[in-house]
């Protein structure tokens, strides 16, 4: 009996060790350990043994059985691992083949500049205001200290619908409307399309975009204006940007200034964009003219304010290196996709 068991052990272990596939291994499992397996049959045949032999043989069989089971389980793991490696090997791909990406569109460069500016001023507590493009002359001119005989009202510069209705030549009428409707503190920026009677060429367009800002409150000073614009210039054009105020004249501000920024292309050394000057004329600004405050129902004895405004296209062109303004309105998809 003992010999028989030993033989089964020897054979089965050999077979298990030599086994190369999971299927064969399962067959071996059945062959030796199954209900009709060789080892099971041995147990069943124990009845023929003497009572003395029974525990000895029984324990031997169990010992062999444990050994086989552990042997099979070990083999199983080995084969599974092998199979997986095989599978992974067959699933190799060429990672340099083209991707299946979802095609993205793009925001127009004008929007991108406007968004950038909006974000900076939203962060400083400004609201975004908007108003009509086909606007009353009274908001576009009169309330902004530009009386009827003023040169800025010339038909050569402004598009007229009627004597009283114009295409706004600036976004400032939005400021006048907000000042009329809202009590200080007022902190707004107004981005939008404006219209001027300029023929289309590389640097001019009858439609372009402006962003204006307005602050009205108690104790607003010109140094606050400078600080605000300096902060804006640094955030929008780079932390090393410097700002320079030059006296200028606008009907709706007094004192007025033009603000130059150190060229954000060359850093002020002089290049094509800044015409070798190191400075780029960025915007017009100033303290809101007392007449404008009065016209809009705000007492200039109590409140003061500042305003500034600039053209979006010029900044977009300088920032993105676009040399011809017409490209912005031609909308060739090969142009648009670059942004």
């Amino acid at each position: 009996m003992k010999d028989k068991i030993e033989k089964i052990r020897e054979n089965s272990i050999k077979e298990i060790t030599d086994c190369k596939e999971i299927v064969t291994l399962n067959e071996l499992k059945v062959k030796y350990l199954g209900k009709k397996g060789e080892l099971t049959l041995v147990l069943r045949g124990m009845g023929a043994l003497s009572p003395e032999e029974r525990p000895i043989i029984g324990s031997l069989v169990n010992q062999v059985r444990d050994e086989l089971e552990s042997c099979i389980s070990q083999k199983e793991k080995e084969l599974e691992k092998k199979e997986l490696l095989e599978k992974l090997k067959n699933e190799n791909i060429d990672v340099t083949e083209p991707s299946k990406k979802v095609e993205l569109g793009s925001l127009h460069p004008i929007t991108q500049i406007i968004d950038e500016v909006k974000e900076i001023f939203l962060g400083m507590g400004y609201e975004i205001a908007d108003g009509p493009e086909v606007e009353k002359a009274i908001y576009n001119f009169d309330k902004l200290n530009t009386p009827p005989d003023h040169p800025a009202r010339d038909i050569q510069d402004t598009f007229y619908i009627t004597d009283d209705i114009v295409l706004r030549s600036q976004t400032s009428p939005v400021q006048a409307r907000v000042m009329e409707q809202q009590k200080p503190p007022i902190k707004i920026i107004c981005p939008g399309a404006v219209y001027r009677s300029d023929s289309v060429d590389a640097t001019h367009s009858p439609v372009f975009h402006q962003i204006e800002g307005l602050v009205v409150d108690k104790n607003v000073t010109m140094t606050d204006l400078k600080g605000t614009l300096e902060m804006f210039a640094k955030k929008c054009l780079g932390e090393n940007t410097r700002i320079r105020f030059r006296p200028h004249h606008f009907p709706f501000t007094e004192p007025s200034a033009e603000a130059d920024v150190s060229c954000f292309v060359c850093g002020g050394k002089g290049c094509k964009v800044c015409k070798q000057e190191g400075w780029i004329e960025l915007l017009g600004c100033g303290m809101v003219h007392p007449n404008v405050l009065k016209n809009c129902g705000i007492d200039p004895e109590i409140y003061s304010g500042f305003a500034f405004g600039f053209g979006v296209e010029r900044i977009a062109m300088a920032k993105f290196g676009i040399e011809d303004m017409r490209l912005l309105f031609e909308n060739d998809v090969r142009f648009l996709k670059q942004f």
């Binding site: 979802v102 005989d149 606050d224 060739d332």
Partner: protein, 799 residues
Amino acid sequence: MKASIEWLKEYSDIDVTPEELGEILTMSGSKVEEIEQKGNDIKNVVVGKILEIEEHPDSDHLIITKVDVGTEKLQIVTGASNVNVGDIIPIAKDGSELPGGVKIKKGKLRGVDSCGMMCSIGELGLELTDYPGQIENGIMILDKSLENKIGENIVDVLNLREDVIEFEITPNRPDCLSIEGLGRETAVSLGKKFKNPRKNIEQKIEDKKEIEGLKVDIEAPDLCYRYIARVVKNVKIGASPEWMVKRLKACGMRSINNIVDITNYVMLEMGQPMHAFDIESIAGKHITVRCAKKGEKIITLDEVERELNENNLVIADDKKAVAIAGVMGGLNSEIEKDTKTVVFESAVFYGGSVRKTAKQVGLRTESSSRFEKGLSPENALRAVNRAVELVELLGAGQKVEGKIDVYPTKQKINKIPFKPEKINALLGTKLTKEEMVKILEELEIKIENNLAIIPYFRMDLESIADLAEEIARFYGYDKLEATLMKAETTIGLRNKEQKIIDRIKETLVNCGLSEIYTYGFVSIEDLKKSNISEELIKTAIMIQNPLSDDYKLMRPTTVPSMMQILANNVNKKNQEVKLFDISRNYKNIDNQVEKGEVPLQEEILTIGMYGKEIDFYVLKGMLENVLETIGVNRYDIVKEKENESYHPGRCANLKVGIDIIATMGEIHPEVLLHYGIGRRAYLAEVNVTKLVKYAKQNKKYTEVPKFPAVERDIAIVVPEEVEVGEIEKIIIKKGKKLLEKVQLFDIYRDSKIGENKKSVAYSLSFRDKSRTLKDEEIDATMHTIVAELEKTLGAEMRK
């Protein structure tokens, strides 16, 4: 305004370079446009004398010369034919430079050494008109008297050196359209004393009613604030002295004769335009300042006949207009060679009127561009007295004592309350009162009893804000600190519409669309090309003064703008084009514009696309994405057959509530043809202004279901004209609350099904969130759904 530094030095010491001066004046408000340094571009050109001339052995048009240039004798070969032995000429020596960056080096001409070049007028950058007797195509022959200057620099000999700065003067500062005004700015900017060389002019002149028989009347005192006439007699018309010609030229004016030059010189010097008449040409010796008669004609000094109307102010004698006031004189009263008695006019007209007249007759002159900004009547007297002084200085005539001075509206002297604390508050500075007073006094603004007394030449200063600007300018804009406001906290937030527009843009970019920007202008033709309805065209707003016929109207719809951009892309051979734009339409409804009201302007999202993968359903899907992203869940898509911009079988309106929010579809083949687009293309217009009302910003969580759904498939055959939307509506209605989802998964057409029929298959999903559904309840529901489909749509179940 151009100013020569030499002239400015009469008003202020200048101890900085022209570049430095330009920088300093720019920073105090007189912005430099250009600095012109004449004479600097001519280097190493000297006076020479021709000693010998011989023929060139190998050329019949070249000659070989020997030229004395002082330090040496040079051999120079030239093709010039106007030179002779003994001529004094300008010689560009080896290594010299001429205007335009031309460099002269020695070389060989047909084998003969040439050590320089003789120069013509043009090569020296000079003008023929300034050097009478010289020729254009030949060497400049200098005066024999310059023989003692041989070897000297031509720039010094001909006095060519001149530094001129051109300033951009803002419209509020007509006083700076003069050397005097710029001289004052220069002195204060440099911290020098303003020399005021014209101080002695302000003398009292006796007023007369009549001088040499001349009388003056102003008929339009609202347009003419002052008219002064002074007379000079025994006039000798001739050339002006060189210093005057040179100054005029530096400022961009040509010399004409001594009397006309004096008027121009005074205008440049003091900013007051002047006019000179020959007294003999004034009929009745009576000057009247009046409005022109309608259709009245005058030939101006430029020999062009101008037609005037009653809005134009003229200077007239008893018979005719002799000048357009403030714009230009008439040919009929011009100073002639034999003029003996001259009337100088120094007047001030209302700027608005001069500007309009100048525009109307198409003549913007040095004179009108000064008047239109509003000039000081007080300065007019100084100017005319200066003109008379110059006549005597030049020996051009003899002054007649007295003046005729009609001065109906005396210039008001502005007095502004001077509040230093208010100025500091506005500027954010901490200047002392004394510092402020010092700046103001340098600008000739006197402080008396806390009032700032404004000098006659600064009519632009009216309020404390103006004083603040003056103080800031000379304190230095660059010295202003950069501070941030200390004020009440404000919250910067985008409003609902702004947020929604941003989300829409984001969604469309994620769908692969690129944003475009278009003009709001269209023409009637553009609208017709896009098959826009007559009714809509009627609401278009007409521009009175359009740039061109293409830009006559403000668009009542964005369709033509998008069509044009699609066409542009087709022309550029772009194959896949997906675009969007959010901008406005402009509609004149109920004659708002005529009533002086702002017309309707709505934000419109326009989508335009063409390409291989694109069809109606791609477009529809994008719009549905947009609606989903802004929380609009309930909407109907309804077929639209009447909109002629679209294919009648492939167009739909999107309705939310009672509003039609959008129209979408394939573009009508006719419209495509009009735009030369040879392929199917798609268009959608979404009224964002209306859509915003329906957008929901707050999203709420609903529990993810715990109990399983029951899935049922259903396939029915319906007539072709039945829209799947109708089927879905019935399923949803009859499926009631338990129906969670209806998904169309197949549409199938086959002859076996029948002519004009289609099979439509849906997957339905039922669920109760609180329990597991039983098959039987769903069977019953399915049964009612099928029964209703059969009844209303004539559907047959497919087994």
